[in-house]
Symmetry: C2
Subunit: 331 residues, 2 copies
């Protein structure tokens, strides 16, 4: 029997079009079918007890690896880690992954993505949430509650549609009280550094002013809706919130941005993302949260995990490893 | 700031419906939206150089963990490994994942899944290929070539539609010459053990007789179509075939059944699946193939890997680890 060796495989592959091809039959006259260049819609569904979770991706942003995406590691070290993770070391792809929870009585969206206005820009690779909701059979008008984990653009911008109105016309908007207090505090705003932080204060106020600041504040360590408990995971922002979703025998941890992309920060929990407002506190939160998740063997849903964003965590060396859950084709 | 501890998280989650809920506004009168219970269609697309690969799942079969799914390991050891892999240790889910390659001039399907007849059975969780092809915008009539890796039901049964005709009406069917020779040899058939092996001989002959045995045989270490080189990976069956797909700067290894489900056999390459006709030879092939893939850092597409079935392999302990490729929402 023919031996498989690296040499034979690679030689054969390199032989290219010179190799003899099978004789084509009558089908040789058939017209070529054009490449489609279109991806499947980005939604995925699973059960947590009696609840139904629908993951809806907002898309992903790909950009050249910045010099300081990780503020306490060199660009070379980050590039080397990307290569170790079988990824292109010259660029970074960050996915954005809101979820919808149907409790049987309420349809609840956690975080919004960048929203339709972003998606309408030419060449946009984000802003897909509305399209993916619709592909999943969910009308944005049917969303009863939007729960916000924290006030960064990829989590709140989609609250507004391109007309600057609430994109989920019938929804109550719920925000962490700690987060609300920070961003709506004029003293905090006046003390914030110029640049990104001032910009965030302004954009957050523009969004919530457009909603006449009509929000419901929720507290940590209490249920936001039945079965969904808010867990304070500060550091990324002062009021950054994760959740435990529990129904029947099902339980998952919804981590929001406890880590950004797993292929950098799950493996290296000591790395601080430039987006972390307080990198040291974010790291403390991350290690404490992940140790709890590993000990409890909880499935984790991650906003910046690759779609569909559900997996398990393991201890690995000084950090952790994300093991994506197998795709279930039959729910 | 509120402390995250296991106690507070779990206590809070256990508090259940007793916790105070936000006051519901006018939306409290809105009707509940029913759970949908429907999964996204199972297709996913990526580029390999100038070629477009569309993964189309045939679904997955879930069954109680058999006593001898792994012939050289105890059921307890297999159950323990499932638990280590964050899976239910009492049952097994095996996915089936054909792919379509559009070369720009030919539309080529590799393996068929169980096919429409299987999918039409009540409660079927396999036989989804035709539906997923259509969801991906691919008409089965447009398939120019069907390439078969080996003659097991999950790879060949879908050649026939429920009327016992070629399910891909305009396709040339290409089979490995070693595999064809074995299953069509009357001496081999007469010497095959009763039970599963006799059944396989009969069902393979029924399928290819329905096609008047009109197939094109292809050889190992040669291109089957331009850019797709057949690699002999025997053991699972005598003529079991994998492929290197190469176009421009893109190259992937299509492993067929070099392993069955990765969460058992990638981690434990010394385990022999009951489906392996020659377990020892399959293991030798597996280790040699995986060492080559690791050394060459080739992406791997696996028929029994969870959808969408693309990943990278790493050495891990005495075995290997599969790192699934991140889902790309924008191709």
């Amino acid at each position: 029997m023919t031996e498989l060796t690296r040499r034979t495989v690679l030689t054969a592959a390199a032989a290219g079009a010179a190799a003899a091809l099978s004789p084509a039959g009558s089908q040789s006259a058939r017209a070529a079918i054009p490449l489609q260049g279109k991806q499947n819609s980005g939604w995925y569904r699973y059960k947590v007890g009696d609840y139904e979770v629908t993951v809806v991706t907002d898309g992903a942003a790909t950009f050249p690896l910045p010099d300081k995406f990780v503020v306490n590691a060199s660009k070379d070290d980050v590039a080397a880690e990307l290569a170790r993770q079988h990824l292109d070391p010259t660029k970074l792809t960050v996915p954005f992954t809101p979820i919808v929870i149907n409790t049987g009585s309420k349809l609840v969206l956690i975080d919004t993505g960048y929203g339709e206005a972003a998606g309408a820009k030419p060449g946009a690779t984000t802003g897909q949430v509305t399209a993916n909701l619709k592909a999943a059979g969910i009308d944005p008008k049917d969303i009863d509650i939007v729960i916000i984990s924290h006030f960064h653009g990829d989590h709140v911008n989609g609250l507004l549609n391109p007309d600057n109105k609430l994109a989920f016309a019938n929804a109550e908007v719920m925000v962490p009280s700690v987060e609300w207090k920070f961003w709506m505090d004029d003293g905090e705003m006046s003390r914030a550094p110029e640049g990104r932080m001032q910009g965030l204060f302004k954009s957050n106020r523009a969004i919530f002013d457009a909603l006449n600041r009509k929000v419901t504040q929720y507290e940590w360590n209490k249920e936001v809706i039945p079965g969904l408990t808010a867990v304070g995971t500060p550091g990324h922002t002062p009021g950054h919130t994760s959740y435990v979703l529990s129904s029947g025998n099902g339980k998952i941890f919804i981590q929001s941005d406890v880590t950004n992309v797993p292929f950098l920060f799950v493996n290296n929990p000591g790395w601080h993302a430039g987006y972390d407002q307080d990198g040291a506190m974010a790291e403390t939160t991350r290690r404490k949260t992940y140790d709890m998740i590993v000990a409890e063997k909880l499935p984790v849903q991650g906003f910046h995990y690759p779609f569909p964003g559900l997996g398990h965590l393991e201890k690995a060396g000084d950090g952790y490893r994300l093991v994506p859950a197998p795709w279930n084709p039959v729910i």
